[in-house]
Symmetry: C2
Subunit: 123 residues, 2 copies
DNA sequence: ACCTACGCTTACGTGCACGTCAACGGTAGT
DNA sequence: ACTACCGTTGACGTGCACGTAAGCGTAGGT
């Protein structure tokens, strides 16, 4: 259950540079066998999270914080409260995106309708 | 029914620079009274579309194409077909985002649950 | 022995979306 | 006349997310 940097790059359709960049930002923490990076399942899961965050337009440093939520065992009450707060913030952002998506889809519906109309008229 | 650049900036919480930038990219086409920009309802609608696209993480040049779909009277059949095709592409992207959002929400649920558990244990 | 494919680091370059001056002009109030 | 606030056009700067070499080492196939 080990993967080279190239394996991951191929599977998730990203460049080697991107993966190295993510490691530099602490998003991935591959094992080092000599100089060579060796990736485990943990890294694949993390990479998937990162790519999802990226598709949703989150900056990488925010993604880093989110991703680290999964790992961190905060322990302290203040941190836990902060974490719950952050979760709320993310939820709000996601909810807003959902609305934006719905509105945009509605707009696309309208454009498509006019488009088909016009296309019919051409016959 | 006219607005200054500052009016728009205030209402939509963007900078003047941003609005000028959007004009430079053809996203907004304010009237020019002398040198001064005068915005009409059309520009407000466009700005809302742009900001929505921005929140969804679309690059501005893509947004430009989408926004111009609403205005263009393509007429020609080839263009109409292309337009319908593009609409399909956007829809696919939006659908994917929806899935990403759902998955992310589910993840947040899990983190939140663990978080509350931990918080309870502290008492 | 040599090529091919893989891996590494260091470091400068790039595209996008603006930010941030600088330098200027018009208008309205005191 | 002076100040304050609105507007304008360059044009260089910035932060992010990588792209793109340069230069190097290693391991396997012919």
């Amino acid at each position: 259950m080990e993967w080279s940097i190239r394996d991951l790059a191929r599977e998730y359709d990203v460049t080697l540079r991107t993966i190295r960049h993510y490691e530099a930002l602490g998003l991935l923490t591959p094992e080092r066998r000599g100089q060579t990076r060796v990736f485990h399942n943990r890294d694949r899961i993390r990479l998937e999270l990162v790519l999802r965050g990226r598709r949703l337009g989150f900056p990488l440093d925010e993604i880093a914080r989110i991703v680290n939520m999964y790992d961190d065992r905060p322990g302290e009450e203040g941190q836990l409260r902060y974490l719950l707060d952050q979760i709320g913030v993310r939820r709000a952002e996601l909810a807003r995106m959902r609305e934006d998506i719905s509105r945009t889809e509605a707009d696309l519906d309208a454009v498509e309708a006019r488009c088909r109309e016009e296309l019919d008229r051409l016959r």
